[in-house]
Amino acid sequence: MTDSPPRARARATRRRGSDRGFNRVFRWIAVGSGVLILAVLAAVALFLLWQAWPALTAGSDELATAVPRYPEDTSFVAYVGPLVFGTLLAAILALAIATPLAIGIALFISHYAPRRLSQVLGYLVDLLAAVPSVIYGLWGFFVLAPFVVPIWSWLNEYLGWFPLFAGEASPTGRVLATVAIVLAVMILPIITAVSREVFLQTPKLHEEAALALGATRWELVRTAVLPFGRSGIISAAMLGLGRALGETMAVLMILSPGFLYSFHILDSAQHQTIAAYIALDFPEASGLAVNTLIATGLVLFVITLAVNMGARAIVARRKEFSGAN
């Protein structure tokens, strides 16, 4: 398990001895790629800060005159608040729908389906990721939204006591609940693909040990596969969350926007996400209005960064219990 001294010394010699010729070139390419990605990230962050600065420092009166949708006498934080709320609510709902489904699909592919079927299914799920978001937007707008209208009004009528289903169900179906379904479909392939890979990595010894103790298939999954894959599932979900937070086109096309802190996901004109808001207002914006839009983009950037760092922290904390050793 631990490196014996001779092996460690041998590795050190190998590293020193082989660092010339193409090895060196390759090392520089790798380092360069690493630096490049950091530089791009820094450039994006700097651009956002630099362009957002005029809006962040402007007074609320100034913003209210320049930005068409800016309410009078509100600070920038109060203005961007509902957008942040809408963005998070849409992404969390999508995640809540997609994660259990993705785990189910991944388990089916890795542990239940016959080999041939699992290959086909895995391929089909990957294919889902290849559909551009504008197609999901069109599908949501023309097919899903009209289709879910009766379902949403039923939920609203009979389960209206539940805060999420309260309010008045929209007759067009272009509400956050519909958006969440479309987002869930969009992030499903990412979560499924990553979880599937992780489940397939479950050590055979663990599985055989579980089976030897008389575990059924479900008990095998519960005692060996899921505990092993937990950190993998979390990072898969966070990858999905990142996409859901930033998704623009589908939200833009489906959602009937509003600017409220509202949990009424069946009601129209309640929510808006940051990305869709920028895409919607950018074409006619000029001057300070553009700066304000970029400032909302900066907020989204910060949120995404925070989500990813949070996910990293969770994964790192779980690593030692993952059973990979």
């Binding site: 990721a129 707008f141 007759p171 067009t172 272009r174 926007p257 004109a269």
Partner: protein
């Protein structure tokens, strides 16, 4: 993981397909072609571009996105007649078009609003005193459209329309609606207003209409952003039409050529109700008085919304140009292009492509001297 590679390949394909289909729209020469064939006889009278030598070179303009569909037809028609000429139009929006025209980056521009004093001053600095040409090259009727089962057409007074869009009338069988429509079977469905979620000239124009005909009810100053909160909205004309089609009891306003199978409102003008038609929309522009006190070639109109027999909800979009340009090539191109744009065949091409209302002969005769005076110098 190669997921993202697939995604990117997918979107590349989609973009490619989109580009192809757009190119197909843009270069469709048929409407312009047939129109040109019909009208050769009176081409001198209408000032057709065909009696000029073939032009060449590149011309750049930009502005109102509302003109885009018509502009594609005009570009196709013009480039058909002048195969060596290329006209570009950047649909950046009206404000961007006016700014770009004022600072000289566009040789011509389209705008949903007439130049204000400040913008006119900037434009005159670019074109020379009295050298700005402005005329309503694109007039597009805006329909009030609804989706209500079993009802194809409704008569609505302006006050009723304002109350509906404000959300004060909430049921289709409201007395105010029933009073003007004794024959219609009105259900007790709730009214769902669908407006544009993006900033739009159509919204501004519709608000201007409501503000001028029902000032007691619609008290909000017109702007490109819809003032009523908590209503359903969608992006773009196709968005509001799609949303209206998806829901029962919806009502919206949209470019009349795009409303598909939705029912339309016959709008109350004086004592009668005028259903939407291109002719009735063209009439309101023809009969409205020209703005007084403008320079010779600025033909802007003060839209009057209560002329009997005319359809009052129209989007009037102006074409902007200079009478003098620095070089011969640009001057020739602008002159040729605007001559075609204002000509009968050009207006017909726009009507076929974008459902716009053609320019009346009176206005054409008033603006042609300005276009003909375009020269280099």
């Amino acid at each position: 993981m190669n997921l993202s590679r697939f995604t990117r390949a997918g979107s590349a394909v989609a973009v490619g397909v989109l580009a192809l289909s757009l190119a197909a729209c843009g270069s469709d020469p048929e409407p312009a072609d047939t129109a040109a064939g019909d009208d050769t006889a009176d081409s001198t009278e209408t000032g057709s571009a065909e009696d000029m030598e073939s032009l060449s070179g590149q011309l750049s303009g930009g502005g109102a996105s509302s003109q885009e569909a018509a502009m594609n037809a005009w570009r196709a028609g013009f480039q058909q007649m002048n195969p060596d000429a290329t006209v570009n139009y950047d649909p950046v929006g009206s404000g961007g078009g006016r700014t770009g025209f004022g600072d000289g980056s566009y040789a011509f521009a389209g705008s949903d609003a007439a130049l204000d004093e400040e913008e006119l001053a900037a434009a005159e600095a670019q074109c020379g005193p009295g050298g700005v040409i402005e005329f309503p090259g694109y007039v597009s009727p805006v329909a009030v459209a609804f989706n209500l089962e079993g009802v194809d057409s409704l008569n609505l007074q302006p006050e009723t329309i304002a109350s509906i869009f404000l959300g004060e009338i909430t049921q289709w069988n409201d007395e105010a609606i029933a009073a003007d429509n004794p024959d219609a079977e009105l259900p007790d469905t709730a009214i769902t207003v669908v407006h544009r979620s993006d900033e739009s000239g159509t919204t501004e124009n519709f608000e201007e209409y409501l503000y001028s005909v029902a000032p007691d009810i619609w008290t909000e100053e017109p702007s490109g952003v819809w003032p009523v909160e908590g209503q359903e909205s969608a992006q773009g004309t196709s968005g509001v039409v799609g949303a209206a089609q998806a829901g029962e009891g919806t009502i919206t306003y949209a470019d009349a050529s795009q409303i598909a199978d939705l029912g339309t409102v016959a709008v109350g003008v004086g004592d009668e109700f005028v259903p939407y038609s291109a002719e009735a929309a063209a009439e309101v522009v023809a009969q409205s008085p020209r703005t007084e006190g403008t320079s010779e070639y600025v033909y802007t109109i003060d839209l009057e919304r209560d002329i009997a027999g005319t359809y009052p909800i129209v989007l009037v979009s102006y074409s902007l140009a200079c009478t003098t340009y620095a070089d011969e090539e640009t001057a020739g191109l602008v002159k040729g292009f605007l001559t075609y744009l204002a000509s009968e065949e050009g207006q017909q091409a726009a009507a076929d492509a974008a459902g716009s209302a053609p320019l009346s002969d009176t206005i054409r005769q008033a603006v042609m001297p300005g276009i003909e005076s375009i020269s280099a110098g």
